[in-house]
Symmetry: C2
Subunit: 147 residues, 2 copies
């Protein structure tokens, strides 16, 4: 009943905003802003997922170290290991993983390759679409309207 | 079928992290970090909601103005007017409002008074609980197991 991640990505696209571990937090701030996203995936030279860095991580390090922290390298602050999902993971599984882990973004990895990213907003949107379809089906079933 | 905001607040509590319009963004960064939240509600001297300021707003102003922006007052950067909800708003209505408006947090206002805040994470958690209950009811209905 719940759609897989591949269906969500088919609508939202496969683009992922990334940053290298050697970049600075200043670069991250600009990258987040330019891409209009809440987190960047940190990828190494081979394109493999090395970590994640989010708006929240930036705010936390600013709170503890002050504005000078913006010059620090991503590798010092990024979160790892990273929880990822696969194109076959369902929206229901995502909801549980993200809620229990208090995560807002999960990179989608297929056979070691980064193929997209899903946010909690994407999951909610998918769920709304799904519930609307379910409600319609249920109404047809109850009222006996043929499909 | 969908629970009202009052039920969500009964579980998560009525505490709201606030900041005054005269505080600096540096104060906001520390406030967000101390409370472990993604946004603060800006309240004026009377306790009325004057605006909202989030991790995202901080990152955006840092990207455009650099680290010096942390000394700016909240009133310059906060988002207003603020979309709010009421204790009687349902989780389904919240989902739609937050998804369409791309909002992560909604202050809950009752008779002009700030009584709580709901995040997109709270909405997802409530939805999971609700779907689990629905699935159980449906199974009982289909298998004929008495309640």
């Amino acid at each position: 009943m719940s759609v897989p991640v591949s269906v969500i990505l088919a609508t939202k696209g496969h683009d992922v905003a990334t940053v290298s571990p050697e970049a600075t937090l200043d670069d991250v701030v600009r990258g987040l802003s330019e891409h209009g996203v809440g987190a960047l995936v940190v990828t190494d030279a081979d394109g493999a997922v090395a970590g994640m860095i989010s708006e929240r991580d930036i705010v936390r390090v600013l709170a503890s170290e002050g504005a000078g922290a913006l010059e620090r390298p991503v590798a010092d602050v990024m979160v790892r290991p990273v929880t990822t999902c696969r194109p076959t993971t369902t929206a229901t599984e995502l909801e549980t993983t993200m809620t229990e882990g208090r995560m807002r973004h999960l990179p989608v990895v297929d056979d070691g390759r980064l193929v997209g990213i899903v946010s909690i907003g994407d999951v909610v949107k998918s769920r709304i679409d799904e519930l609307a379809t379910q409600a319609e089906s249920l109404e047809r079933y109850v009222t006996g309207t043929p499909y």
